[in-house]
């Protein structure tokens, strides 16, 4: 199915091109009516038949837990999996800022259309219009649902819900629960799911890791999971499978993601035929606590709201970089964002703020400790704000963040300027899905951060939580219904060749990992991969760098399978074994990310190709060539991946260049 005209494409020696693809599920007609039409056209399942139908859901974050709760309430038989000891600990819990919804409670001109517009524009026109419109449309129901569950959103003195505005938009549509919005939303979804566990519709498997997808006669029919306590390899079969297993930012080793976040669930599905959409789109967040040394295991995000009052600067002269910042005179400071972007100043979007910080450090004007031969930090200074506001006022606004910073760094940002540096935060790529959130494997769905569809090349703040809950509470229950209506599908036996094969491949992979007994720890491979990815496939990418990265990753992968050391056995809790499996998948994903980044010779959103910039150094998109989704098909062991393009058709929004000058 592939052709040979790849030589003209950048990096065309690394992949082949397959047939174009398209979403065929979104109904026609005006965009405002599509979702209503789709819900009506989707087939119904009689309540009595629902309990005969089963769904496996991998992941209990906002997307997975909300889907499990809702499908359970509807009466389907749901099996839910997560690798933590409790579903309540999924990574969604860490989200701080808030969740968007077009409620227009402030009457400031918000609407479904405006949220839709902002999201498409914010994603640099690389998301799919129809999916995004639906997201905006169901956003208001999410808030109603969560409030009814008892989620304690911030309220004003009249007892009504409070809103704030978030980076890149001009209306206040963000609902929040102090700095713990993700936690409160997740607890709501978790409680709704536990209610179904008690009701017997949801079966919960904690400390279970999905290690393989089962595909029988072209349809997704189950998973192979490992009980992480006993080591038992289990087969779970169902009529449909949902992957809501989160993002893959941990390919960079250091990121703001939780330690266990991984790509295994989606990568294993990719290897079984599911297309991977836009893997190279990584979001980098500008306000994280910088790396302090070699032993750092993860990075911590400081809420973006700090940029409302903090001013960002570095010393004008390199010689000043190791001075106490309080001794650097005003005229020797470079408030570079205010200088370059006078209109937006410190509030430019995430990708721009991040890239500029990197340039300052690359120029040798970074601050903080030397990590390697670099200082990776810039100042975020509150001294102006402290002279404008009282200490009480500033503490009321930022106190908990200041305390968190102080706990981690040992420095009080009320006294010395905070230091920040960009860090990997979120991945916009994920499994390719259509309007129904179904992958190209029938019966396999992907939701939340695990799919690719809604955020394009860049995600606006507060819109991932919205997407996860939209997918889980409102979209999937309606679209899976249509698929299940044709079921129950023919029962699959545990002895079916596809099942046996899936199981054996898991077992042999585990025994291989345990038998290599080489010299290097799993973490050392993960760190090295992370360095390669950050250096060459991070904030700025070049053809030369990406080619180098691909070579380095291939060599590292080769070494991994010869020289990794995983101790212990397969039949107990074995954390090195868990990590080894995940790093093995990250090595393969990392290579695909670089190939994807290499072929996209344009800059957009979280993907900045140095070869494609305007005269004054801003990102330059090439819509004529690249207004498509890159959906990658696995090319077989050692084979080249196959690129399928889905053209992005904008019928309702006109494409424009983003500008923040």
């Amino acid at each position: 199915m592939t052709d040979t005209q790849t030589q003209d494409l950048p990096g065309g020696d690394m992949f082949t091109v397959g047939e174009p693809i398209a979403d065929t599920k979104a109904p026609g007609g005006p965009i405002e009516q599509m979702w209503t039409t789709a819900k009506f056209d989707n087939k119904l399942v009689n309540p009595a038949n629902r309990r005969k139908l089963s769904v496996i859901i991998v992941g209990t974050g906002l997307a997975g837990a909300s889907a499990a709760a809702t499908l359970g309430e509807a009466g389907y038989h749901v099996k839910s999996f997560c690798y933590q000891d409790s579903p309540r600990r999924a990574h969604s819990i860490a989200a701080q800022g808030g969740i968007n919804a077009a409620k227009n409670y402030n009457d400031d001109g918000d609407s479904t259309y405006r949220l839709f517009y902002d999201t498409v524009k914010g994603g640099d026109y690389r998301s799919r219009e129809t999916n995004v419109y639906r997201l905006a449309e169901v956003s208001t129901n999410i808030i109603d649902q969560c409030v009814a569950q008892g989620v304690p959103f911030a309220r004003d003195y009249g007892g009504l819900l409070d809103n704030r505005s978030f980076g890149g938009v001009q209306v206040a549509r963000t609902f929040y629960a102090r700095g713990q919005t993700g936690q409160q939303l997740l607890i709501g979804a978790y409680q709704a799911m536990e209610r179904q566990v008690a009701a017997g519709t949801v079966e919960q498997f904690t400390r279970h890791e999905m290690l393989e997808l089962i595909v029988v006669k072209g349809k997704a029919r189950g998973i192979i999971a490992r009980d992480m306590v006993t080591g038992e390899i289990e087969t779970h079969l169902a009529d449909a499978v949902v992957l809501a297993s989160g993002g893959y930012g941990n390919v960079f080793f250091l990121s703001t993601n939780a330690m266990g976040c991984n790509v295994t669930a989606t990568w294993r599905a990719h290897r079984k035929g599911a297309y991977f959409g836009n893997p190279c789109y990584t979001q980098i967040h500008p306000t994280c606590i910088p790396v302090s040394g070699d032993h750092q295991s993860k990075l911590t995000l400081m809420s973006e709201s700090l940029r409302n009052d903090g001013r960002i600067w570095v010393p004008k002269r390199r010689e000043d970089c190791d001075k106490d910042p309080r001794d650097i005179a005003e005229e020797d400071r470079d408030y570079y964002l205010e200088r370059i972007y006078p209109a937006f100043g410190n509030l430019v979007p995430r990708d721009i703020a991040s890239r500029q910080a990197k340039y300052m450090c690359d120029e040798g004007r970074g601050v903080g400790p030397m990590v390697g031969d670099f200082r990776r930090g810039v100042y975020l200074d509150f001294s102006d704000a402290l002279s404008r506001m009282t200490r009480e006022q500033i503490d009321a606004k930022y106190g908990n963040l200041f305390d968190m910073y102080q706990r981690i760094t040992g420095e009080d940002p009320r006294v010395v300027p905070m230091r920040i540096y960009p860090a990997v935060h979120y991945t916009m790529g994920g499994l390719w899905v259509d309007y129904d959130l179904e992958t190209n494997i029938p019966g396999l769905y992907a939701a939340g951060e695990a799919n690719f569809s809604d955020h394009g090349a860049n995600r606006l703040g507060a819109s991932s939580l919205m997407q996860c809950l939209a997918d889980g509470y409102f979209v999937l229950p309606n679209t899976i219904r249509n698929y299940l209506a044709s079921g129950p599908y023919e029962p699959v036996s545990e002895d079916a060749p596809e099942v046996v094969e899936a199981r054996q491949s898991v077992e042999s992979r585990i025994s291989t990992l345990l038998s290599i007994n080489g010299e290097r720890s799993v973490d050392s491979f993960h760190k090295e991969l992370g360095n390669i990815m950050w250096e060459y496939c991070g904030m700025e990418r070049t053809e030369e760098g990406l080619r180098k990265a691909i070579d380095l990753i291939r060599a590292l992968k080769d070494e991994f399978w010869r020289n990794v050391r995983v101790l212990g056995s397969a039949d107990t809790l074995n954390q090195s074994l868990e990590k080894a499996g995940r790093v093995a998948d990250f090595l393969e994903l990392g290579e695909l990310m670089c190939i994807d980044a290499l072929h996209r010779r344009e800059s957009c959103g979280g993907h900045f190709r140095a070869e494609s910039q305007t005269e004054d150094g801003e990102a330059l998109r090439h819509d004529e060539e690249f207004a498509y989704v890159a959906a990658w098909e696995f090319g077989g062991e050692g084979g080249a991946p196959v690129l399928h393009k889905e053209d992005l058709v904008y019928n309702f929004i006109e494409l424009k260049q983003r500008s923040y000058k």
Binding site: S86, Q149, G150, Q184, E194, M404, R407, S576
Partner: protein
């Protein structure tokens, strides 16, 4: 700094377990306690000894996954989670004892990892508001007075880490339970199931083998989210009212 660690090693639920002494060096102030254990584990791996198993995920103080008894204190010498405890709280030459949470209701899985699924079963017994998706009324139809909203919020910040249980001489889970009861009882949405909820959650708590509360207060003192002791008063008064009803 150089440290001596005495770490609980237990191969599985049926092993009796013992403290094993290890030395670590080159530990810096800015490492978190868990990063210090990462250093130890790299060292053990290099020596061919199996690394120490311990739980963590967010390493940001919010998921509640980490949790160790550090020299007899839940989460260690500061009021925070283990992942947010930094080595600047220790001195060169210190000897530190590291053990898992100890409670009958939290069986040890391996080394420092325990099974806290009893908390999930307590939530299953009633820690929710029964509302099906799609059945929710417009959010602003039901205002919540700010003081009530704030108190509900404070209680809702419990991360389910289990430090309260580990710190309590009775291994009581009342602080965890009281936090959930208070969160839901303060809100108008939580009223219709209020009585039934408290009775069934208390029953489940006792059934899991957690002890009773004798007002010692170690739970609240150890709680990284500073859940106040008075959530237990709310729990008790709701329980009494429900029993009378």
């Amino acid at each position: 700094m150089n440290l001596t660690l005495k770490i609980w090693r237990q191969e599985g639920p049926n092993d009796s377990g013992r403290l094993v002494t290890y030395k670590v060096s080159d530990i810096t102030d800015d490492m978190s306690f868990l990063e210090m254990l990462d250093v130890l584990n790299e060292q053990l791996t290099a020596q061919g000894e199996e690394p120490v198993a311990f739980d963590s995920d967010c390493r940001e103080g919010i998921c509640g996954m980490c949790g160790l008894m550090i020299s007899g204190q839940a989460h260690g010498p500061e009021v925070t989670t283990t992942c947010q405890l930094h080595m600047r709280s220790f001195k060169d030459g210190d000897t530190i004892t590291v053990e898992p949470w100890r409670a009958e209701a939290f069986p040890v899985v391996r080394d420092l990892v325990v099974d806290r699924s009893a908390f999930d079963r307590i939530i299953q017994s009633g820690g929710f508001i029964s509302v099906n998706t799609g059945a929710a009324p417009e959010a602003n139809n039901l205002p919540v007075a700010k003081p009530k909203a704030d108190r509900a919020f404070d209680a809702a910040t419990c991360i389910g880490c289990g430090a309260c249980v580990a710190a309590c001489p009775n291994a009581s889970g009342m602080l965890f339970l009281g936090a959930k009861i208070t969160h839901l009882s303060e809100l108008p949405q939580g009223q219709s199931q209020r009585d039934a909820r408290v009775v069934s959650m208390v029953n489940q708590h006792d059934h899991e083998g957690f002890g009773g509360c004798t007002n010692i207060g170690e739970c609240s003192a150890a709680c990284p989210k500073e859940i106040p002791l008075d959530v237990i008063s709310t729990l008790n008064s709701d329980f009494r009212k429900a029993k009378q009803a």
